[in-house]
Symmetry: C2
Subunit: 428 residues, 2 copies
């Protein structure tokens, strides 16, 4: 979709991006030092500002929708773009909830005396400047900016061009709330250009940006991962597995598998492949198939599965790799725990995988050997979520190995520096 003429930048884009970066870096220092009470008061002021701007927000959003409709955006994307009185209230209430979360910044831990007499520990500190690159949903503007705010970071937001007017007005409310609390409004900046080149410039400014968090489709994220000169906290596929062990409680396994698949088809924690131990396949598969049939889930199975379930289509090699995000499930009968683990390693995406079993040794091996950001026992994969994990809120789910893995909340937006307490000790 092309941006309307008035949204096209008139100034030199590279110079503009550099100025955005420099302002963010400067604001990040004030944010890192801000007291918890001051950050919370900014958050509450932001919630009020969003509520007060509700009718303007609906109007700006109406213009975005109108432009996007004219440009032929399809219905699901229009849906994601749409703000309502209820969704605006939900955003404001969400910001107030972030104010209630404990502040991670300044936490000192693991202080231990060393042989030198120094006491050495770690202090949690903000990352600095976080760049968020996202697609249609305007609520990300507020959710991401306020999580970064609470964790003491400055933020540069780059939303989708189709949501530009909504995003701009939302970002203005955030800056307004920051200023009300005596914090720099530039601690949250929306890139005021819909030029695609701005994204390339944003991910190439390690001097001004410490981390990039991309939120969007796999295409966007893979392109950014190739281009970025700044470290990223990112999420790729969610090809999640439930493995029903020989020692599973089969009634529980049916419930877990059905919930993992059907709680919501579109979430990254939805089960996409069900692995079943051969010893229980003949009993378990007809039961789970009947339950899944009542939800209209289509089954694609290995040969052994198809022999037990005439309604299942034969799965292709491609199916084992696929994140359906819909009412389709791949099913494979495996001869052992080893085969299940090897299948997850080879075809999976290291997101979330679960074992259903009563066998302690099988559970121990699954927990240890499955290399995924979340490994579950007797629980459906759809629980992979920052709220369910007690993080209060999440900026996303990381499938990276360095830094944060799995749901990323406030703590994932910070790092730890060493703090060293001495009384004049000397070395050597």
């Amino acid at each position: 979709m092309n941006a309307p003429a008035e949204l096209t930048p008139t100034t030199d884009l590279a110079a503009y991006m550099k100025s955005v970066g420099a302002r963010a870096r400067a604001a990040s220092t004030a944010m890192a030092r801000a007291a918890t009470a001051q950050k919370n008061s900014a958050l509450n002021a932001i919630a009020s500002a969003i509520r007060a701007a509700a009718s303007d927000l609906l109007e700006a959003n109406r213009r975005d929708i109108e432009r996007a409709t004219g440009a032929g955006l399809d219905a699901p994307l229009l849906d994601r773009l749409r703000l309502t009185a209820a969704s605006i209230e939900k955003m404001a209430a969400g910001v107030e909830k972030i104010a209630l979360l404990p502040d991670p910044v300044g936490e000192v831990s693991e202080v231990r005396p060393q042989p030198s007499g120094l006491r050495i520990g770690r202090m949690r500190v903000p990352l600095g400047v976080i760049g968020i690159i996202y697609e249609s949903r305007p609520n990300v503007t507020v959710d991401a900016a306020t999580l970064c705010l609470k964790s003491g970071n400055a933020t540069i937001l780059r939303g989708g061009s189709e949501a530009f007017e909504s995003n701009r007005l939302l970002a203005q409310q955030v800056s307004h709330g920051l200023r009300e609390a005596g914090l720099p409004g530039e601690a949250v900046q929306l890139i005021e250009s819909t030029d695609r080149a701005a994204v390339g410039l944003l991910v190439a400014m390690p001097k001004f940006v410490d981390v990039i968090v991309p939120r969007g489709g796999r295409g966007l994220i893979e392109r950014l991962a190739n281009e970025s000169r700044v470290p990223m906290i990112k999420h790729l596929d969610g090809n999640c597995h439930v493995y029903v062990d020989a020692a599973a409680d089969l009634a529980q396994a049916v419930d877990v598998a059905v919930n993992a698949k059907t709680y919501r088809y579109g979430i990254c924690g939805a089960m996409e492949t069900l692995l079943v131990h051969a010893d229980v396949a003949a009993v378990f598969l007809p039961q789970v198939a009947a339950a899944l049939a009542s939800h209209g889930v289509e089954l694609r199975g290995c040969a052994a599965t198809c022999a037990l379930l005439p309604q299942a289509r034969a799965a292709t090699e491609e199916d084992w790799f696929t994140e359906y995000l819909g009412p389709v499930l791949a099913v494979r009968v495996v001869d052992s725990l080893d085969t299940a683990i090897a299948h997850i390693e080879f075809y999976g995406s290291h997101h979330t995988d679960s074992i259903v079993s009563r066998d302690h040794l099988a559970i121990e091996r699954f927990l240890r050997e499955v290399d995924s950001s979340s490994v579950m026992v007797n629980a459906p994969t759809c629980f992979a979520d920052g709220y369910e994990y007690g993080l209060g809120a999440e900026i996303g789910i990381s499938t990276d190995k360095l830094h944060a893995r799995g749901p990323v909340g406030l703590e994932g937006l910070t790092s730890q520096k060493y703090v060293v307490f001495g009384a004049g000790q000397l070395r050597g």
Copy 2:
């Protein structure tokens, strides 16, 4: 320096690197699952193999030195390249010490019940495959490989071409020890090519390599940071500061400053700029200058410093940015704690900075506001070191913000995945 003909790869380099990567990835699975006792037995076998190979190692190293001398390598680099009976024994003893460190892999922490009834915590796991790129010192081959081994990772080593024969023989001892303990010898591979293009290929294989740890000069590291498609744990400058506050114990401040500068000039934790509060400058500077003069340290000062210390040369803007790594010190008189913190923020490298003070509020602010990987109180910056921090050993000191900051030991070579313990709970 050109590599001798016999070290030049004869096969397709890209295909060779891919095969190295694939072997490392395969070995990393076995390493992640290896029991602590098995890893320790590999470490002890490696120490024995190194001792048994001592005379062959000295001979291989002699050939490296001969070739490097012929190629005109300068004396300090030849020194770093040289192995002796004592340095070989030290390497072997170091490996035995790593065997004694606690195994970080498998540690489960922070398991908390959630409202859903699930208990959710984190398990420490290896990063996977670690690529180490280093220059002349052959001992890095053993130190880095065995730290990665203990933390359950597979390693790909790329040493300097001048140390090729020494490195190759050392890597063979490591693989031998791994196999003795029933672990895959390919868990540690040295790139058997001295072609510079191999480095470019190594940092462009995110499928096979999870992290790159570069150890070398700033030039190497900056080039790699620009090229790498794999996340890096890296170290740039160590432009470290000691700030002597108005409320410092001045005798202690002299000791701390002198130790910070003179413990060893060449380490990254050496103080490079001394900041002194104006209230104590007239008393403190002559004292510290006299002590530093006895070590032959040259002073470069701001105008106020030069007025108090006739022996100081005027510092240029460049001096404040400089990591001398030698007996030179920049000195600036500051009018406040704020100016000191602002100086460190602007000119520093976020490595290690220290305050000397008895004023609790000044200390609190310095600890909170100085954004460096280590922030110290009444201690010399030269303490920035994994052994002093109780890590047992270090792979390097990170000046990055994501993942590990400061000295990186075994824990920094691991990450944490979520573990979720349920009893059939369902969502929604």
